[in-house]
Amino acid sequence: MAHTQDEVLAGLAELVKEETGIATESVQLDKSFTDDLDIDSISMMTIVVDAEEKFGVKIPDDQVQNLVTVKDAVDFIVGAQSE
């Protein structure tokens, strides 16, 4: 069953917390992974792989660089679920 945007955001925030220790409430749609949350490219890739498993989607390497904000990631995952 497809996850809603809110569910994806909440799930993603949990994955970010597991990888980096950042509080889930800090992971908001308008935040930049790099500039606001200070997540480096290696942690970002770990979160991406975990998100693929959690939400049952594929996030190709060449898409990862386009996921600048949390909203970019949430939108991509929601869209990829419906494909």
């Binding site: 290696i42 792989v49 660089q65």
Partner: protein
Amino acid sequence: MTQLNVKPTRAGSRILALGAARGDVDVVNDELVGPIDSSDEWIRQRTGIVSRKRASKELTIRDLSVTAGREAIEKAGIEPGQLGAVIISTISNPVQTPSLASIVGEDLGAHLVPAFDISAACAGYAYGIAQADALIRSGTAEYVLVIGAEKLSEVIDPTDRSISFLLGDGAGAAVLGASDEPGVSESVWGSDGSKWDTIHMTNTLYDMRDAGAPWPTLRQEGPAVFRWAVWEMAKVAREVLERAGVEPGDLAAFVPHQANMRIIDEFAKQLGLPDSVVVARDIETTGNTSAASIPLATHKLLEEHPEISGGLALQIGFGAGLVYGAQVVRLP
């Protein structure tokens, strides 16, 4: 019809001894941060490297190879002339021919012994072990010297933020010999040329000659390599354990290619190795030495943990090609 003679096959091979030679200069992070606008903390956090071993100008890849090879031959207790092959894996030999193996073999006293180089980047040592094992089991050779040797400091760009600051110089060697009980498992090895540009040289020799291109140096797509090196290589590691009939708890050591501490840590986590398995983390003070990294790391582990001698180690190399190779070996 005349039947051709062939040598009888053997049950197995095993690593008899290892040798190691590292660059003679410790290069700490602070010496590299200027041109990449970075910091010691940034490098440590992303790579786990505190310093890397690099060779001074006079210390050549040939010198490093001979030192490592000689140690392995002496510790194995054989004469160089008993070697049935000398195999060197390298991507940093400064000439394309003759091979580094023929020169180093001669330096070591292995006159007239078959010698050749292989190009399999960071998987090169595992490729060499696979070939040595096959040569011995087929009866072609009784002893084989495998060396992974790199002087990667010659192919770096100080302004590159992708890979150059990781790299070090060194050579690691192993002498393998026949064994009634197999000491090298079936290898799982392969390549994926569709990802050739994930780790590559910046340009070709022809680009230099015809277009005045700069000296070729290494580059990588770090995040893509990280994903492949951890999650795809974890599948390879599980497969090699299964084919070898070995459970993670049977291992004494896990020796992945020393690419990046973050890869090593995540890889070990994905495999769910028990705490009893010693994980090689030589990268912290040696850096990434490509084909040399697995034997160098194993050599150090045996010095630091002599109790694992005779135990089983899972070793896996992965890198430019993309290529990978893995096997379970009994430690000397």
